[in-house]
Amino acid sequence: MSVLEVRDLAIRFGGLQALQGLNLEVNEYEIVGLIGPNGAGKTTAFNCITGFYQPNTGSVSYRGRDVTKAPPHVKAAMGFGRTFQNVGMVKSATAIDNLKTAQHAKAGYDVLSGLVGTSLTSRRERELTAKADAILDLLGLQHIRDKRVGGQSYGTLKLLELGCALATDPDILLLDEPTSGMGPDESDELGDRLLTLRREFALTMLVIEHHVPLVLRVCDHVYVLNFGRLLAEGKPSVIQTHPEVVAAYLGGEAPEALEQTQETEEDAELDRLTGQAAQHHDNPSIAAPELVEPEPSGPARRRRAAAASAAAGSAEERLRPKKRAPRKRPATTEEDESA
């Protein structure tokens, strides 16, 4: 029996059909990848599966039980652990408190005995702290134990968020872009970590990921979404050469993803500026960025123009195969066999 089974899932927001006829299946002990261009509906699918959205039609089954209508907190208690695209944690609380908060459903005492302060409560609280500490040790984050989460770097946050998802004692882990904000080395490390976690916790995972080498390396099976529909599925090695996927997805986006590993200086500068502008938006005391955009050099300009036209172009244009030099096959491909 599969751990997670999604049948004919469809959801519509106003005039936008965000998902249509989505079928997917995650078996015990599998790491399944969910990929697709931006706006393909991956996060929407996550939100339907974890109960944050109610799909218009279709069903979500967990170990044979229909759980389509169950609200998110019930699903969390059931064994759905999830992370968010833009880090979901209690930012004003410390790392250890976040890990304890995440164990809410498994606290093992009720509200009233918590307020009275029974011996059971204090024993369970000690156990919760111990488990939180164990997760910090496991992820090598003991040094931020009593620091507030808000001030940490994005990569650290992503890792701690993974820890929080683990603390909910999940059966199936749904990770939304776990490597976003991480450099290539950190992403590789995360790949190792996911494989280790699966081995040690007997976890099943569904992963949204843009970082192609990671997908090729850790996933047993890959689903490709485009415009809310399933475009293809199969083994990563098959997907990689699937003509439609290459056309729709790899043609438009994947080279970008690969090129991230050789990010140019202008790119870094641009990222810094947009990041600063975003921070300024949230907190005006941070200075707004100086808007002196460096004149992009030849190749970068061409590439951005291509990306922009791909983003702005019609569906037909996006599906049309792009003429590009054949991609180098990443060296890590063979490793997914060992998983």
Partner: protein
């Protein structure tokens, strides 16, 4: 099944129960602290209650306000729900206690249970509203709710003794103001303990999580709906019980004095005390409860007289006006200064001293840099919309 599970079973002492609290146990270090504690105990447990100038009654007020402060802090500080209608829960508790004692002959002890239940019930209704309406709109709704209670329910004939006020006589053993102060203090201690347990258990963590981000809270398995309601019910219970104490404190419950001004005072004292800070809320509430007494009856009176004399240029009319509005002026100024300049509130300023008294080293840094001092301090300014 897993590494984490196994490690969780290991003795807690190995698992990060290392001495992080920084407590220093040594007999000599405790001498000055014990002296401070002794002095505080003398002032608060003997000097004030036995004062013959009426300080005991004011101290009882301070305890009652402090309970309301803790109740309000649960909603605003921990859960991020701005309630401008706490005078409603408080007032309905006062009326419920007085009515059940005087009209229904309910035993004295039971009136507190009834007041708490009624407060909880009304708060539950507001909580249900808060599930749909949030932020500023909720603040507005709670305000209108309390105003409506004040003008309608608090004027109903059977409840208010035909508008003459519902009497609430204390039993024999509580007639002495000093005893009544100890009685109120006992309630305050229980309220402080409940607030402490709240934050030390999963409930408090759930509230903080849902205050900051409901989606994250849900992903952590927290039933946001249920815990919001729990916060409202808990807060309403405490406010209702505090209302019952007020009924016995003043002996006659009327609608006047339970209005919008009181709601503002409650929010004011909680924010000035320092949202999220238990100590601060208690201190802020006590300050607001006793401010006019302090300005009238203690050494502060001569200071006030001096300043008023300076500001009024000898005009008798101006002097009277200044004296009459001094309390309101100081309260409002305190609130604005707290919000704009010292978001940590009074609690922040006293925190270092308090921690030292109970064994930690004196932390000058915490005094000077409030924003560095733990999550509670930052919460001071961040009531969520």
């Amino acid at each position: 099944m897993s590494v984490v599970e196994e490690r969780a079973d290991a003795p807690a002492a190995e698992q990060g129960q290392a001495p992080r609290t920084g407590r220093q146990f040594g007999p000599i270090r405790w001498v000055p602290r014990l002296m401070v504690m002794g002095a505080l105990a003398y002032v608060f447990l003997y000097r004030i209650p036995q004062d013959d100038g009426g300080a005991a009654a004011i101290a009882a007020d301070a305890c009652i306000y402090a309970i309301v402060g803790i109740s309000l802090n649960i909603l605003i500080g921990h859960t991020g729900q701005l309630s401008l209608g706490h005078n409603g829960f408080f007032g309905i508790g006062a009326f419920a206690a007085a009515y059940s004692l005087t009209v229904r002959d309910v035993p004295f002890a039971l009136t507190f249970v009834i007041a708490g239940l009624v407060g909880a019930l009304f708060a539950l209704v507001m909580g249900l509203v808060a599930l749909r309406i949030t932020g500023l709109y909720l603040a507005l709704i709670t305000l209108v709710f309390a105003l409506t209670l004040e003008e309608s329910l608090f004027e109903v004939e059977w409840l208010t003794n035909a508008g003459g006020g519902q009497p609430a006589d204390r039993p024999e053993w509580l007639i002495d103001d000093a005893n009544f102060f100890y009685f109120c203090l006992a309630f305050l201690v229980v309220a402080v303990y409940i607030d402490y347990r709240l934050l030390a258990s999963k409930t408090g963590r759930a509230l903080l999580a849902l205050k900051e981000n409901e989606r994250v809270a849900e992903a952590f398995g927290i039933n946001v709906t249920a815990f919001k309601l729990i916060a409202f019910v808990l807060s309403g219970t405490l406010a209702g019980v505090a209302g019952a104490l007020l009924a016995y404190r003043i002996g006659l419950v009327t609608a006047s004095g339970l209005g919008f001004n009181l709601a503002l005072t409650f929010v004011l004292m909680t924010v000035v005390g320092g949202l999220g800070s238990r100590l601060g809320v208690v201190l802020g509430a006590s300050l607001f409860a006793s401010l006019s007494f302090l300005l009238e009856e203690t050494w502060m009176h001569s200071v006030q007289e001096f300043l008023v004399g300076l500001a009024s240029f000898g005009s008798e009319g101006a002097k009277a006006n200044l004296e009459q509005y001094a309390v309101g002026f100081l309260g409002a100024l305190g609130l604005l200064l707290t919000i704009v300049q010292f978001p940590g509130g009074i609690g922040q300023q006293f925190r270092a001293f308090f921690d030292w008294t109970f064994g930690k080293p004196f932390d000058v840094h915490a005094l000077l840099h409030p924003q560095d001092d733990g999550p509670g301090a930052v919460e001071g300014s961040s009531v969520r919309a």
